[in-house]
Symmetry: C2
Subunit: 359 residues, 2 copies
């Protein structure tokens, strides 16, 4: 092979592959209009030279604009979904130079029909890609059917429906996370013969099924393996109850079970129970929950919640945008299933959790 | 203010600030040759417009080449430093399009004089920036004196010497990490009245001082606060001992302390002790250590090590390069002190730890 200059140029590749510069350019950017044999020769040379096109330069030169949409449950300030959204926004800022814009779409998780409007909205937008939280599986099936027809790639955040074959998924392995929750709770509780799951339900259903139910599955798996004789109690708290009603419910529970020493929530609502524990001075009660909401962190620091399990929501959101951009703008490969770490936080390490992730 | 086009151009800024396009360009890229008043006017307009230069385009257009050096202890395959180096390499690959190259320099941590050669090497290279693991504080002081003279920016990885004022530091808060280690170990050990610290020393000194000593300080702080009557034993293992000699040392220790139920290492060498525990079927001994070396993970999975504390070495290395590039290439601000999370790993969550960090 001829001696090559230090920095390989497209014209060098064209010369070696005996094709025009335009042909090399078409192969590099995946555009049509190249014969199979020319394409093969160019690809061979690229491989031989270990040539990587300057993706930034290509993307900047293209001047194409990209619109991404994201579909999340409606949420209040300070909720788990705020952090997911924060990551999405921070991801879109990171790719700002590549003419990227994002458009939010929200649904009411307790009124599934509102998701139908989301489907209409996203189709009207006709974005280049979509981030979806598939908390309502049936509705997500309908949406994905439409996206597939329109050839719009999508990624799942927080929970997964693998059979819908998303471009990527970012979230925790819920079953394993519940299993881990069991192991850590029982380390606190040691010889406990009773443990309580505080659940949030809606109209009698364990509505946010993907996460809460899968985590409970993992938790029960751990318990039946290592603590088969420990009784698992359940307290179902309807999301519509006001704080007095929740308090009355917990008063009844704790008066009926005066000896219970440990419990957990399998969602981000542990603060509700932590505050009850603190108010009633149940100092020997060990409580574990999920997610670093401010309310939960406060309980962690005052000792009413002993452990929080976190799952990098900001990173989840950021990575969703990152994976769509890698695919759409930089034509790079994207890893499909990406499990977040199962992070254990106590009063002693929680302050260092957020430092890295929110850069 | 005049109506502005959707995409703000340098000539728009020049018009509004009543200066030349060249002046705006100089201000944007921090080059000299601009009067104070022009600079002020341009900066005011930039702020008003919330203008962010397209940093990728600027950097690509400049064609400047960057050389970074990194100075690490010599290390074997599978050691903690491999992961730091992996992150450094991955960081430099990420910035490959910006004409970045890196040059490694190693010293023998047990022969401090070898660090003097590193100083000569790095000065001969005259790099644009340096990553340094300051495990040898006095030597690092000399190096930094030279770098400051040559106006070469540097970042610290793994441990910090804040008074040397690095551009950035990435690593764990060692004291808090040891405190956390104490809290988790005592959760396993519960009512233990004895705990042992297995230490690695060199020639009678606790050589890797920054980390091991600071972690021990935090550990002792926790113990004196919550378990003041628990006796803290020490076993010093010289790094020069072979495996038979280590085994003999541990045989002696365990025969003299048949009732001891828990211990920890404050560095990455916990695998040595985990393997001893496994070999001798000390099933009731609770061991905690640091860092996800393969050997350690094996012990975690077979139960001879119960907890590992991790500190994102790959991310540490990556972020060192990232911060130097942000500063040198993109002229962005860099956060100075960046504490890594204090991550707790057990057999049940360790498999999800690496997924995210090594993308």
């Amino acid at each position: 092979m001829d001696k090559l200059p230090e920095r390989i140029r497209i014209k060098d590749i064209a010369r070696l592959a005996e094709v025009s510069v335009g042909t090399v350019d078409r192969v590099l950017h995946g555009r049509p209009g190249v014969s199979k044999s020319s394409k093969g020769r160019v690809e061979e040379i690229l491989k031989e030279l270990n040539y990587h096109p300057n993706v930034y330069a290509s993307a900047l030169a293209s001047n194409k604009k990209y619109l991404l949409a994201y579909i999340l449950p409606e949420h209040k300030e300070g909720s788990y979904w705020c952090d997911i959204e924060k990551g999405i926004k921070s991801g879109s800022e990171a790719f700002n130079d590549f003419h990227l814009s994002i458009s939010p779409i929200y649904y009411d998780p307790y009124t599934p029909t509102t998701f139908d409007t989301c489907i209409q909205e996203v189709l009207a937008l006709n974005p280049d890609g979509v981030v979806i939280s598939p908390t309502l599986p049936e509705k997500t099936f309908s949406l994905v059917g439409e996206l597939n027809k329109a050839e719009i790639p999508f990624v799942f955040v927080d929970s997964n429906i693998a059979e819908l074959n998303p471009l990527a998924f970012f979230g925790q392995n819920s079953v394993q996370s519940g299993y881990f929750a069991g192991s850590m709770l029982m380390l606190l509780a040691q010889q406990a013969n009773q443990v309580v799951i505080f659940r949030h339900i809606h109209n009698g259903k364990n509505r946010l099924m993907n996460q809460q139910q899968n985590r409970e599955k993992g938790f029960r798996e751990y318990m039946s393996k290592y603590h088969p004789h420990c009784q698992i109690l359940e307290v179902d708290v309807d999301v519509k109850l006001n704080s007095q009603e929740v308090e009355a419910l917990l008063n009844t529970f704790f008066s009926e079970h005066p000896d219970i020493k440990c419990g957990l929530t399998l969602n981000s609502q542990v603060g509700v129970f932590g505050e009850y524990i603190e108010k009633h001075n149940l100092n020997n009660f060990h409580l574990l929950g999920y997610d670093l909401l401010e309310r939960n962190i406060k309980c962690l620091k005052n000792g009413s919640v002993r452990f929080l399990i976190a799952q990098q929501p900001v990173m989840q959101g950021y990575n969703c945008i990152d994976s769509l951009c890698r695919y759409l703008i930089f034509k790079k490969e994207v890893k499909q299933f990406n499990y977040m770490p199962i992070d254990l936080l106590t009063a002693d390490n929680v302050d260092f959790y957020q430092e890295v992730r929110e850069q």
